[in-house]
């Protein structure tokens, strides 16, 4: 016996009552967490998702805060200050110091325009409007469109999905056929047709996006509902005589919440993308209103000479899309108990 442990004699003494109480095997040491608390804890561990959440919060605060306090009026035209590049005080790097290359030479655009005292952090556009204010304003419009459209599409999609899954049978088959037909036309084509009928504008973009993008949500919710409705607690609720509506709200919705939240995180960026595409094509938001898409469209015209006019809105758009995607991924992992920690 080579591996005999040498234990001191006093480790064989009987346990005292206090020791026994401390070693209670039935006691649960960690605080018990609800599903949402657990998900939140896991989300906080995911660096990408956590950073995205903070970034999104900041973007929301700045975009909506600019409605009250804006660095400049986004629609104030200053023709004499047109096309000034970015100038951030204290930064001397070319591209952020108010200089630009003209006819092969780097010149100070602010001096040339006679605006030596002014600082436009993101520069100005072709009408001399402050680009930072316009980007904030555009972000706000884009976010409003995306959020309202998502809210509608959430309502339609979840209701449709629960109804279809709950009813089952022929109703379900018929409702799924309708979805298949909608899915067999590219989304953007339908959105464009709807906007033509509703006349371009913010409201029609919201309606068009909401009416076309609920299918995905409906499918996911239906699949989950089919699974959940076979569970015992639903049977119990039915046996106790709960109405279908009450079961849907009290039992189905809470159990579907993770699917719904995750899918929403992917619906919002796609709505932002659709809005940007529409405005970029020229049937979205029209001037003097601005969205990220119209700013990109304006910026793209001058990209060769004034690249900053497209870089800034493009950067903001990409950050928003990236953050929502990362947050969606993070939430999916957080809600999935199988995720390894």
């Amino acid at each position: 016996m080579a591996d005999t442990a040498k234990l001191p004699a006093d480790s064989f003494k009987p346990m005292s009552a206090d020791d026994r109480a401390a070693l209670d095997s039935e006691k649960i040491a960690a605080p018990s967490l609800t599903f949402m608390q657990d998900a939140w804890r896991r989300l906080k561990k995911n660096k990408g998702a956590w950073v995205s959440l903070i970034l999104l919060a900041l973007i929301f605060i700045f975009a909506f805060g600019s409605a009250i306090v804006s660095p400049h009026d986004p629609n104030q035209v200053h023709p004499e200050y047109a096309n000034l590049p970015s100038k951030i005080p204290g930064i001397g790097i070319n591209g952020f110091n108010g200089t630009l290359v003209q006819a092969g030479q780097r010149i100070d655009a602010y001096k040339q325009a006679g605006a030596t005292g002014a600082h436009y952090l993101m520069g100005t556009d072709y009408l001399g409007r402050d680009l930072l204010s316009r980007v904030l304003y555009g972000t706000r419009i884009s976010l409003i469109i995306a959020l309202v459209a998502t809210l509608f599409d959430l309502t339609i999609g979840v209701t449709y999905g629960i109804f279809s899954g709950w009813k089952g049978g022929r109703v379900d088959t018929f409702m799924q056929r309708i979805i298949e037909i909608i899915l067999s036309i590219p989304n953007l084509v339908v959105i464009v047709l709807l906007i033509l009928i509703l006349k371009p504008g913010m409201l029609s973009i919201i309606i068009a996006i909401a009416l076309t993008s609920w299918t995905n949500m409906a499918r996911l919710v239906r699949a989950q509902t089919l699974e959940i409705k076979e569970q015992e607690y639903i049977l119990a609720a039915r046996t106790l005589g709960e109405s279908s509506l009450k079961i849907a709200f009290k039992h189905l919705l809470p159990n579907l919440s993770s699917v719904i939240i995750i899918n929403t995180m992917f619906t919002i960026p796609s709505a932002i993308f659709f809005e940007a595409t529409l405005s970029y094509i020229g049937i979205g938001i029209s001037s003097p209103q601005a969205s990220l898409g119209t700013l990109l469209n304006d910026g793209q015209k001058n990209f060769q000479f004034l690249p900053y006019q497209m870089w800034w809105p493009a950067l903001v758009l990409c950050i928003i899309m990236l953050a929502f995607n990362l947050l969606g991924d993070g939430l999916r992992d957080a809600f999935d108990p199988r995720t390894k920690e």
Binding site: L183, S184, V189, L193, L196, T277, L317, M321
Partner: protein, 309 residues
Amino acid sequence: MAKYLAKRIFYLILTLFIVITVTFFLMKLLPGTPLTNQAKLSQSQIALIYKQYGLDKPEWQQYLLYLAGAVKGDFGTSFQFSDQPVSYLLSSRIGPSLQIGLQAMVVGVVLGILVGAIGAMRQNTWVDTTTTVVSILGISIPSFVLAVLLQYYLGLKAQLFPIAEWGGFIYTVLPTLALGATPLAESARFVRTEMVDVLSSDYIELAKAKGLSRMGVIYHHALRNSLIPLITIVGPLAVNIMTGSMVVENIFSIPGIGEQFVKSVLTNDYPTIMGLTIIYSFMLCVVLLFTDILYGIVDPRIRLTGKAN
């Protein structure tokens, strides 16, 4: 199989019929006529132009005529280019769109498989992180932003590729890259997730235990099984490419149907818009049908019973 196919083709025709009907009546809701200078035309001239476009008949007759024409591939006459049948306009433009779309799909999916597989093989290392970052960026950057950047940096600055126009393979490179980014990113993400799952399954352990080489295990067992579910995202990717092509074709001035769609929307060319809507949904239906059948063939666990899901 034959029964399933017949059923699917019946649904395809039904879908197209509904699409045609809905678009036709939606278009009738819109204001606008093919007349460009209404005030200067006499009553008889207007009547003649209406007759030329078949707008003199009651709407239900127009609808039936349109339906009969659509079956034969005749979508009426363009409002914008008088005397040009829509079918001619579209058939001369579909080539470039198909070429770029297919190239983007093939390049995107093949590279995506590669990137995803490499990421899964080196799970939780810097290689994996890099490939994940690449794929999340590909999903987050809209194709039209990428298109402008590619056009400027690779086309104008580096002079590697022509910046616009159409005429030969070299002209397709930039649009293909711009459109292929999303399929690349999506399929890379998909393949990585699938492959991580597959790599931890028992039959991979068995293959390793048999003494197969690492590449043998990856190629014969892991990759093949990870790729089957990839077929399901081909449909959504096709939608993505069609959507992207509308803007990307505009940026690179490619004479394709995406560019035509935007042009027709901006000029209220209703017959062309209708024709394009039908073409788009036809293409998508065919892709969906094709992927469903393919899925049934490669994965014998899926029974083609004609039931959805």
